[in-house]
């Protein structure tokens, strides 16, 4: 599945959602007036409410108060299509329309005694005969025990009752599809992370997606999930926390992808700014949300701009998505731009991850090629013409001159071939096997070079493993580049030392000196082979040095645990 196409689909859905919510209104709302007390006649349409207040101060003790709002219906409903009334009002209340009770939300005046009842967002049907074109009165008899300073109608909508019920659900369903997509992406990348625990950007991206999913679900559940008004603050706190998490993680993710100087310090400062915004106006939720999201945008923009300036792959495209989200913010305000913007930014992050995954795949393919190449190199050691044909030429000579020695020579050669055969497709072999290979090689070279070769070892743990043929390569170099001592011999010594932190092999050559010019070839194919093998098995946890000593040559291979 091509994950890049998924967010694109989401965008289209969001665009659909944005266009589906525009319709002409059927009413006009006038100022709401308040009065404390409880008289049933206050519901009447014809009541003279001149003594009522435009504002209501704190209502103590959950006492009952009334509010009256004049509403002009601009157009009568079609027959059998009654209007409905949708309210967001804090408190428990009864709703009167032109003096007629049309609905009840909890038990006004009895909140202290009874359990919380009712919901923050409620929809009521208005009888058809009361919605003729003209002036009407909406009266609410309410009490506000839990948030005494939140009296009033926070949102009001009049439309066809059916549409009131379904429109928001349709909107919610779009947003839930949007959220669901991020849930799936979140899981997908969480699993990717669980399979490769070093890939922290994958984890951060997964958490971001999950937070966006949770945010959308929490925000849009209000239309179908009844919440009593006393729990509303908790819900807003949760939303703020999600936003806080998103606002920190997105710039954090970009900081990992586009590293810049003083990264830790700047990130800590940024986290400080976010926490400051989070606590400065504890109950101003909208202020907090806008503040945190704008900070996130600014910090991310800075980080991604730096990445683009440094020409990091993918930075430019992410910069474009950031700019686009700002354009949407300017054009459409906070709510729409929050979700489209988050969608866009997450697409940018996803794009970066896909670049990472591609880079990793290429690196993996390269490592496969490298392993194959090393295997071939090992195979070639025994069939390369210089070794094989020189050996055969010497062999012919031995056979002609001393057939018995010739047979021994052939046996040594056969043994070396056999050993190479055994280690050919391995990346690590027991050091005992490697030493046997070296000894056999020296036997062959004694026949060829007519020289004495001595082999000594110290502290060897035969069970330890090393990459194949690296000591053999050092031995070959030692034979090729060393001048024999006075008694026409060269001695090799392998020393193994190990402490808790590292294992060290020291390969010493004792000779009369190094042949002129040998030092220049320090980075010959042999040493390249050794380095490549060490990298293959130990990544960067190794060290290799090679230098001349008064006695000959010293090679040190260190492997860190």
């Amino acid at each position: 599945m091509n994950l890049r196409s998924l967010p694109a689909t989401l965008l289209v859905l969001m665009a659909l959602f944005a266009t589906s919510c525009s319709k002409g209104t059927v009413y006009e709302e006038h100022v709401t007036l308040f009065k404390t007390g409880d008289r049933q006649e206050w519901a009447a349409k014809s009541l003279n409410d001149q003594g009522w207040n435009k504002y209501l101060a704190t209502v103590e003790d959950g006492r009952v108060f009334w509010s009256r709002t004049k509403i002009d219906i601009l157009k009568s409903p079609e027959s059998l299509h009654p209007y409905g009334l949708q309210l967001e009002v804090y408190g428990e209340y009864e709703v009167f329309w032109d003096g007629v009770l049309i609905g009840k939300n909890g038990n006004p005046g009895q909140e202290a005694k009874l359990a919380p009842e009712g919901k923050l967002w409620a929809t009521f049907s208005i009888p058809e005969h009361l919605t003729a074109e003209g002036e009407h009165v909406l009266a609410i008899r309410a009490s506000l025990y839990y948030f005494p300073d939140h009296a009033g109608i926070w949102s009001l909508d009049i439309d066809h009752y059916d549409d009131l019920l379904t429109d928001r659900l349709i909107e919610t369903s779009y947003m839930h599809i949007f959220a669901g997509a991020f849930l799936i992406i979140s899981f997908y990348f969480l699993f990717l992370f669980m399979n490769n625990k070093n890939e922290y950007p994958t984890l951060i991206f997964s958490i971001c997606c999950f937070l966006v999913f949770s945010l959308v679900l929490t925000v849009f559940s209000e239309y179908y999930f009844p919440i009593h008004y006393r729990y509303h603050v908790i819900r807003l706190q949760i939303i703020s926390l999600f936003l806080l998490g998103i606002s920190f993680l997105i710039p954090f993710y970009f900081s990992i992808q586009f590293p810049y100087p003083r990264l830790r310090l700047l990130l800590t400062l940024y986290a400080g700014v976010l926490i400051f915004i989070f606590f400065i106006k504890h109950h101003a939720f909208d202020f907090r949300a806008v503040g945190m999201v704008l900070s996130m945008w600014c910090f991310s923009f800075g980080v991604v701009s730096y990445g683009a300036y440094k020409k990091v792959r993918g930075a430019r495209l992410v910069l474009v998505t950031l700019l686009l989200s700002m354009v949407i913010f300017m054009a459409s305000g906070f709510v729409i731009s929050l979700y489209t913007g988050l969608g866009l930014i997450l697409i940018g992050m996803l794009y970066l991850l896909s670049l990472n995954i591609k880079a990793q795949r290429l690196a993996y393919e390269n490592s496969l090629v490298q392993s194959t190449r090393l295997r071939l190199e090992l195979l070639k050691k025994n069939i390369q013409p210089h070794f094989l044909l020189n050996t055969l030429t010497s062999l012919i000579d031995w056979v002609e001159e001393s057939p018995k020695k010739g047979v021994l020579f052939i046996e040594a050669l056969a043994k070396e071939f056999d050993l190479f055969n055994q280690i050919e497709d391995q990346t690590l072999i027991p050091v005992a096997q490697e030493i046997e290979l070296c000894r056999t090689h020296l036997e062959i070279m004694e026949y060829r070079k007519e020289m004495r070769y001595y082999w000594e070892e110290e502290g060897i743990d035969p069970q330890q493993k090393i990459p194949p043929a690296i000591l053999h390569t050092l031995l070959e170099n030692g034979i090729t580049h060393s001048l024999p001592r006075e008694d026409n011999s060269i001695k090799f010594k392998l020393v193994y030392e190990s402490d808790g932190k590292c294992k060290c092999y020291t390969f010493l050559t004792f000779a009369a000196g190094v042949r002129p010019g040998a030092g220049n070839k320090a980075e010959g194919t042999g040493l390249k082979y050794i380095r490549a093998r060490l990298t293959e098995s130990y990544h960067s946890r190794w060290d290799f040095t090679s230098k001349a000593t008064p006695d000959g040559w010293e090679n040190k291979i260190k492997v860190y645990c």
Binding site: P385, H386, N390, S394, T480, H481, G524
Partner: protein, 232 residues
């Protein structure tokens, strides 16, 4: 006969030595074995030599580093190497023979015979001649060479641009190397036959070969018959 063997494998060097002794017998004046390039170069500089037997891979050094120097000298060079893929470039440099390892007595003797000019079956095309000029080795392309003129132990190389260069090899030795396109038309001249436009007979039974650039080269009386058989 003075021979230098450059070979880092003691056993193989001894084999070559033995075979050289068997082939040349009493004609052998000296036989030296060097197992590294610096040692070989030092020896070439200070000793008279008739034949160089060279391995192309010495202790990890590339024998081609010495080849340019070797082929510009007066003696012949025979390569004895495991790297058959280097045979063609070696021939282009102007070595007398390339003996691949592993070799047997017959093959090495054949190479020795070439060196003492018992055999003249050159099959490979020399493309370059190395000459020493102001202490450096300069490579001359055979296609730029018109003819060679013997000058004692040396040879004058006459080139297409009208210049002359001196080569340390004798005319006889160059004749062995340039067998495929050059003809010895006179005891002192070796001429590229594709350059000859006309063979003229001058009064007094003098034979002259005219080259494309108008130069006239004398043809030896005894060579004329061979030439007519081959070319006319």
């Amino acid at each position: 006969m003075n021979i230098l063997i450059v070979e880092d494998e003691a056993r193989i060097a001894r084999r070559i030595e033995r075979m050289a002794q068997d082939t040349f017998g009493n004609e052998l004046d000296s036989l030296k074995h060097a197992d590294s390039l610096p040692e070989a170069l030092e020896f070439i500089k200070n000793n008279p030599l008739d034949l160089l037997l060279l391995d192309l891979n010495l202790n990890g050094d590339n024998g081609f580093d010495i080849l340019g120097t070797a082929v510009s000298e007066s003696f012949h060079t025979i390569i004895i190497s495991a790297h058959k893929d280097q045979a063609i470039p070696a021939f282009e440099y102007g070595v007398l023979d390339f003996v691949p390892k592993p070799f047997n007595r017959e093959r090495l003797e054949q190479a020795f015979n070439r060196a003492i000019a018992k055999e003249k079956t050159g099959t490979h095309h020399v493309k370059l001649l190395a000459i020493k000029k102001r202490g450096r080795i300069q490579l001359i392309r055979i296609e730029d060479l018109l003819y060679c003129k013997g000058a004692g132990a040396y040879t004058e190389l006459h080139l297409a641009d009208g210049t002359k260069e001196l080569h340390d090899k004798s005319l006889e030795k160059l004749e062995q190397l340039l067998l495929h396109s050059f003809e010895r038309i006179h005891k002192s001249y070796l001429v590229k036959m594709s350059e000859v436009t006309e063979i003229m007979v001058k009064p007094g039974s003098k034979y002259i070969a005219e080259l494309k650039n108008g130069e006239n080269i004398p043809i030896g009386r005894t060579k004329y018959k061979d030439l007519r058989g081959k070319w006319v």
